[in-house]
């Protein structure tokens, strides 16, 4: 947003003295590495618990697979649809891009609804045992990421509107940044799915 304002300002004042490359994406990647380390800490804690802390009698590790499998598919498809939105924007087709973005947001919201549905149908609650607590902490923290991502997708889909939107083929960064974040959240989910549901 700001960079566009800056550019217009400079177009008005004719003297351009210095410029440097855009490294906002570099900063975002560094941030995502940090964010990934938070998840790594959670995963490490979960795996250690599973290895050394036996659950009380009657508690189970097994979870129902249909909903999380559906959720995995939803997120993978949403990554693809987001990619389509980016391609459409490169081709200067804001309207198509906006449609793909809204579809991606729809998939994200569906993911969250499924997740909540799973929460309400699980046989355990947050404080029942160590496995339950870790399960809710991990999926909840990831769900928080999905929620933020969905909100950001809705915002940029509004900003991609053909008239008056600031995201266009000339200013791709907001879309690219959210896309990278979304792929990251997607990738974390795949790891989470494997560790939490399949192992």
């Amino acid at each position: 947003m700001t960079s566009l304002e800056n550019t217009t300002e400079i177009k008005q004042s004719s003297e351009v003295t210095e410029h440097h490359d855009d490294f906002r994406m570099f900063g975002l990647i560094t941030f995502l590495i940090a964010d990934g380390m938070t998840f790594a800490g959670f995963f490490a804690a979960y795996l250690t618990y599973k290895a050394v802390n036996p659950l009380p009698e009657g508690a189970i590790y097994e979870l129902e697979l249909p909903i999380p499998t559906l959720n995995t598919i939803l997120l993978l498809v949403s990554s693809a649809t987001f990619h389509r939105a980016g391609k459409a924007l490169i081709n200067k087709d804001n309207r198509t891009s906006q449609k793909w973005l809204l579809f991606t947001a729809f998939l994200g919201i569906t993911f969250l609804i499924c997740q909540l549905f799973e929460y309400f149908n699980l046989p355990f609650s947050l404080t029942d045992n160590l496995f339950a607590s870790t399960f809710y902490a991990l999926t909840g923290f990831h769900g928080l990421h999905v929620t933020l991502g969905t909100l950001m997708i809705l915002i940029i889909s509004w900003q991609t509107r053909p008239k008056g939107g600031i995201v266009s083929h000339e200013n791709m960064f907001p879309l690219e940044a959210v896309e990278l974040y979304w792929h990251f959240v997607d990738g974390i989910w795949v790891v989470l799915f494997i560790i939490l549901y399949l192992l």
């Binding site: 800056n6 940090a34 804690a45």
Partner: protein, 548 residues
């Protein structure tokens, strides 16, 4: 896409307040933010130092007569947290990093100026929050490590405020780290290669990698801990089937690298100060770079040496002992490099170099006790005794804080255009050095003889040595007075320094003192040999630069 940066400079000049008001504003200028970090950190240092004095007054007698036991626990928790998270980490990273790194890479500002300002402005509120938790329901009592189950069973509101505050400070630290990595790797002036950067850049690059990789793990851990306290989960609560050792692993995965986050930038700063005041090139530049990166890698895999008494299995003890002993190698290389830099140099005796030499002495001593502590049989004997307290104060105070003072004497003329008073400076050094060693050297003996740390009362046989230690603490408290007088007097009446009072070659001295908002009038200089002292060709260039 390219971003045009002169609009930012326009904004800097037109929208930002001028004069002293700049320092109370959401300024985007890296120099202003650096000073904000430094002054804010120093104010918290005074708070943390008062708490330390309270601890030493309490320990002057074997009974808890100065303050009740639970207040003592709160005081030591706040002392540790403030000194680490609000003084040393923000100052060695935030203050000097923000001020110097853009100069060193030949840039006009940091890579992300707004993120930079956000990172600073997270610190004062979280620090105030931490201190005021004392008035809510008692501050946190579980020490700066907040080990469960202690942190779960002590009064909760203080502990929760402590967690929130540390989370905010961790966020600030991560934002800073991202900014430094981007600035050093991406914002270098065209033509400037990585291996031509001043050593402080390398130190900050290594530190920032540690910050970005390890701080988020602490954040996650503290979130789980707050669930245990608020939502009654059992992650770290053995009563509910949880595992306290998992907390220790996750906590030390951050907090051991935190030692390097505090001391690696100090290494970098010393490597800047020594060559200038000894008029010799920095000895072994390449080995210095590799040892910094070696410390970064090794620093991430030694955390469990804090946990030798937590039921760690033998293979883990073996691995972490060996890895820890290995860290002595790169650290030793750096130590010998500094000594070799000074060897045969034209050393000018001033406050900056005295504090740097004090750092080298203290740090070697702290390093040696560190290697000793890494050995399991010895560690089990002195674990949680005053030996550990003495060891890490030699590292963080004798190491990092001495370097902070050295750097203040060295860069004060850059920031203000005036020199600090040398008589007061040398007095400051003498009292600090004597007070510090008097305070902490005897604590090795206390620890070896079994005096436990973090307890308000102790066996009367330790009283005399504790009183010697408290006398040292008194001297350290007094040492702040000449320093403050010096700063306040020199701000107004200090001797005019000129642009380059030390005849230095590093880029920050090749501009006016204090520097203009854009750092340089015109193009940034290309400094390929920041340590080319004694080299006739470079000295000639230096002279021509001065003439310009």
């Amino acid at each position: 896409m390219t971003i045009l940066i002169n609009s930012k400079n326009e904004q800097k000049e037109s929208l930002q307040p001028k004069g002293i008001l700049r320092y109370f504003s959401f300024s985007l200028d890296h120099k202003v933010i650096g000073i904000q970090y430094l002054v804010c950190g120093f104010l918290f240092y005074l708070v943390g130092g008062s708490l330390a004095s309270a601890i030493r007054i309490e320990l002057a007698s074997p009974m808890s007569d100065f303050m009740p036991r639970d207040v003592y626990n709160q005081v030591l928790t706040l002392h540790g947290t403030i000194m680490i998270f609000l003084w040393i980490v923000p100052v060695v990273n935030g203050a000097f990093g923000n001020y110097l790194i853009p100069f060193y890479v030949g840039a006009r500002d940091m890579a992300f100026p707004r993120l930079n300002a956000v990172a600073f402005w997270l610190i004062p509120p979280s620090g105030l929050m931490l201190i005021t938790s004392y008035f809510v329901d008692g501050a946190a009592q579980a020490g700066w490590t907040a080990y469960p189950p202690l942190s779960i069973t002590t009064p909760q509101s203080g502990q929760i405020i402590w967690i929130l505050s540390v989370l905010l400070l961790g966020g600030s630290s991560i934002f800073g780290g991202i900014n430094f990595i981007a600035t050093i790797l991406k914002l270098r002036r065209p033509g400037l290669k990585l291996m031509q950067l001043p050593m402080y850049c390398w130190a900050m690059l290594g530190t920032s990698i540690l910050v970005v990789l390890s701080t988020p793990v602490l954040a996650g851990t503290l979130i789980l801990l707050s669930f245990d306290i608020v939502a009654n989960t059992g992650f770290f609560n053995p009563v509910l089937g949880g595992n306290v050792v998992v907390y220790q692993h996750l906590f030390w995965f951050y907090s051991h690298p935190a030692v390097y986050i505090m001391v690696l930038p100090a290494f970098g700063l010393v490597s800047e100060i020594l060559p200038i005041h000894c008029r010799k090139p920095l000895f072994g530049y390449t080995t210095m770079v590799f040892s910094i990166m070696g410390i970064v890698v090794l620093g991430l895999v030694v955390w469990a040496h804090h946990m030798f008494t937590s039921g760690t299995p033998p293979w883990m003890r073996l691995f972490f002992t060996i890895a820890t002993a290995f860290i002595a190698v790169p650290t030793g290389i750096k130590f010998f490099n500094w000594v070799a830099t000074m060897w045969g140099g034209k050393i000018s005796i001033n406050s900056a170099i005295l504090f740097s030499c004090g750092f080298i002495l203290n740090f070697v001593f702290g390093g040696i006790t560190g290697v000793a502590l890494a050995q399991v049989p010895f560690d089990i004997h002195v674990h949680d005794t005053y030996f550990v307290v003495a060891h890490f104060h030699y590292i963080v105070y004798g190491g990092s804080v001495f370097v902070i003072f050295s750097s203040i004497y060295h860069w004060f003329p850059k920031v203000t255009g005036r020199l600090l008073n040398e008589t007061l400076g040398i007095l400051h050094f003498a009292i600090t050095f004597i007070g510090f060693n008097l305070c902490f050297a005897p604590q090795h003996w206390l620890g070896l003889n079994g005096m436990p740390r973090r307890v308000a009362e102790y066996d009367p046989q330790f009283q005399l040595i504790n009183q010697v230690s408290s006398l040292g603490a008194l001297l350290m408290a007094i040492s702040t007075i000449p320093f403050l007088i010096n700063i306040l007097l020199s701000l107004k009446n200090g001797k005019k320094a000129g642009n380059n009072p030390w005849n230095a070659l590093t880029p920050e001295w090749l501009t006016t003192s204090p520097p203009p908002v854009e750092n340089w009038e015109g193009e940034a200089p290309l400094v390929k040999e920041p340590y080319g002292y004694g080299n006739p060709i470079i000295s000639k260039q230096e002279n021509t630069k001065k003439a310009i």
